[in-house]
């Protein structure tokens, strides 16, 4: 599969000024490896007044954030289109999302890798700004999946602790992205395996396990 020009899953019609700005920015970054020197240069190329840009975005970084949020949204819709989606449990839904996201990132690999290499250099565990919008929607999505999992008892109900789950899963997402950025195997096969193993582990942890039994015993002993 050759690198195609990234397709953007957006609500706007393709010819809208917003979509044109986004596409032009993406093209520039792909060609030059850096953001354009100024907003003026970009809008000039598009024959748009500079103010038009600021109607939609405050900075170039805002476009980057939106591009990542688009990846996440597209992955969720595409994964849910799979005919078996409804039969999937929570673990499989999350896996389905990761694998679809990986497909999308592979299609946009130049941009995605560039953006990750630029932003993941900071402290491990800290969310780069560029992923902020993506993270918020991801946490909502994981929250829903986990709620569903609690209903089917795939996920253990642990009041207090469970509010923190989406954040923990976000760390997993960062781990996956970091792995993807460093993976040099053909077709990112090791990333596939990493996702499979990481998700299995996380659902072993949030499912009913030793921890719950231990807690149960402690509660019993304390209560007298």
């Amino acid at each position: 599969m050759e690198q195609q020009l990234p397709s953007l899953a957006t609500a706007e019609p393709a010819a809208s000024p917003k979509a044109r700005i986004k596409q032009a920015y993406l093209d520039y970054v792909l060609r030059k490896g850096t953001p354009p020197p100024s907003v003026y240069r970009l809008t000039q190329k598009l024959n748009l007044p500079e103010q038009e840009f600021y109607r939609f975005y405050a900075t170039f970084a805002a476009i980057d954030r939106e591009l990542w949020a688009d990846f996440g949204r597209e992955a969720r819709t595409a994964a849910a289109r799979e005919p078996v989606w409804e039969q999937y449990g929570s673990r499989e839904k999350l896996l389905g999302f990761y694998y679809t996201l990986l497909e999308i990132l592979k299609r946009n690999r130049s941009y995605a890798l560039q953006s990750l290499h630029r932003s993941l250099r900071g402290m491990p565990g800290l969310t780069p700004r560029v992923l902020d919008d993506f993270r918020q929607e991801f946490e909502v999505f994981v929250g829903e999946i986990l709620r569903e999992g609690r209903r089917t008892e795939e996920v253990a109900s642990r009041p207090l602790v469970q509010e923190q789950y989406p954040r923990a899963f976000w760390q997993q997402m960062l781990f996956v992205l970091g792995f993807f950025a460093k993976d040099d195997t053909v077709n990112f096969e090791r990333t596939d395996a990493a996702i499979e193993k990481a998700v299995t582990l996380s659902f072993d942890l949030v499912g009913r396990n030793t921890f719950d039994s231990a807690l149960d015993l402690v509660r019993f002993l304390v209560r007298k």
Binding site: R91, E92, G96, E103, K197, V199
Partner: protein
């Protein structure tokens, strides 16, 4: 016939269970080492012999528990038994790579990577729940265009994991076995090559088609058709064949005529491969055959992942060792053993006599089917003799102390083939026309 096989968890000799057994052995062997070094640390006399005996006993227990009679036959065939210190050799030949099951989404992803479509688009119907574990993946059931398919899906990145695991394990294994890398290299290389070949589905497809075509004239055998258009490096699609695995099939109490015909079909299949094709399906594990009573007994052969090509000189040597004339002629036997690397010119005379006589006993027993026109694998006396000799061999201090690999690396998979075949025939209690005239 049974079209709805059991789900993964209930496979009787599942690889998972086997892996668990091995894992336990690993722990115990490790513990023996701790004891050994602890004793040394306090200055006690702790001969390596004792350690090795403890480890071998541990392995021996595990192996016999897992494979029953198979182990005994292995010991008989074991000219290469002495290639590695007792019992370890089996573990090498049995080496199979274990992977965890694939999740539904990962199966879908494998299809998207290979064909750009999900399995539900590729087939009219696809069961996302695996029907069976395969050595490095799993088997799914699918239907489309009036045919039913078995679709093998491989775990991502297996070849890489095998390579890196061998790199990780090798130094530890050498330490445990007390061997130098130079002497073991050919054997390790042989096993690594076979394991890696198993990850190559394109190769398996090609070999499956070739061997099926070359065995088309043999009666009562059946091979699946392979579908290259529905296969890729990590997906292998073939016919879904009817039939039951050995244990389940035997539970239906088939008549002796059926059992004999099935056994004969297997025997002919293997002799044809060994002697005519010089390449052999080297994994006669019960999971790779499906049996049914049609036409008085039909065997379906699956899984050509592990195929051993036999070099001409190795074939000649192997055949010569099993030939009746060799047994009657000690000089000839010694010469052949020397050629096979079991006995070396520098071996001292006393040891030499010992090796030759041990091999003579082993070969007499193991080669017995080849010296009769008709052989009864159901005969309890034969199996008892094999058991007894196996135990004897394990008790031999000379063999236990053996530190140096002996024999040709090609024997590893040849032996595994014979071991597997004898075990299948024994379970079938088959009377075999050996083809001897």
């Amino acid at each position: 016939m049974e079209e709805s096989p059991k789900p993964l968890s209930s496979l009787p000799t599942s690889k998972v269970a086997r892996a668990a057994r091995f894992a336990k052995t690993g722990l115990n062997v490790g513990a023996n080492y701790v004891k050994h070094y602890a004793r040394r640390a306090v200055g006690a006399e702790a001969p390596t012999d004792a350690l090795h005996a403890a480890n071998a006993a541990e392995l021996y227990g595990t192996l016999s528990e897992m494979k029953g009679s198979v182990l005994k036959v292995a010991q008989m065939l074991a000219m290469e038994k002495k290639l590695l210190p007792a019992a370890y050799a089996d573990q090498f030949a049995q080496a199979q790579y274990q992977t965890p099951p694939l999740s539904g989404p990962l199966v879908v992803k494998a299809f998207r990577d290979a064909f750009g479509r999900s399995p539900f688009e590729v087939f009219e119907e696809f069961d996302i729940n695996a029907r069976q574990a395969a050595s490095i993946g799993q088997v799914h059931w699918a239907r489309g265009g009036g045919l039913t398919y078995a679709v093998k899906v491989q775990y991502p990145g297996v070849a890489d994991s095998i390579r890196s695991d061998i790199r990780l394990v090798k130094p530890i294994a050498l330490r445990v076995l007390g061997l130098s890398e130079d002497t073991v290299r050919p054997y390790l290389l042989e096993v690594e090559t076979r394991l890696l070949e198993e990850t190559d589905y394109a190769l398996e497809l090609q070999r499956g088609q070739e061997i099926a075509a070359q065995c088309a004239t043999l009666p009562h055998l059946e091979f699946p058709r392979y579908y290259p258009a529905l296969s890729s490096a990590r997906i292998l699609t073939m016919d879904w064949l009817p039939g039951q695995h050995l244990r389940e099939f035997l539970a239906t109490e088939p008549s002796s005529a059926v059992r004999n015909q099935l056994g004969q079909a297997l025997w002919d299949f293997y002799m044809h491969q060994l002697n005519t094709l010089r390449r052999v399906h080297a994994d006669p594990h019960p999971g790779n055959f499906l049996l049914r009573t049609d036409y008085g007994g039909t065997v379906a052969v699956l899984d050509f992942g592990c195929v051993k090509e036999i070099p001409a000189d190795v074939h000649r040597l192997f055949t010569a060792l099993l030939a009746p004339e060799t047994l009657a002629d000690p000089v000839r036997l010694a010469a052949l053993l020397e050629e096979a690397g079991v006995v070396r010119p520098e071996t001292d005379p006393a040891q030499r006599v010992f090796y030759v006589s041990t091999m003579h006993t082993s070969l007499e027993l193991v080669g017995r089917p080849f010296r009769q026109a008709m052989f009864d694998f159901g005969d309890p006396a034969y199996m008892q003799a094999l058991y007894a000799l196996g135990d004897d061999l394990l008790q031999q201090p000379e063999l236990r102390q053996q530190r140096e690999p002996r024999g040709s690396e090609h024997f590893i998979y040849l032996n595994r083939t014979y071991v597997g075949l004898y075990a299948l025939l024994t379970e079938l209690r088959a009377h075999i026309q050996t083809g001897l005239r």
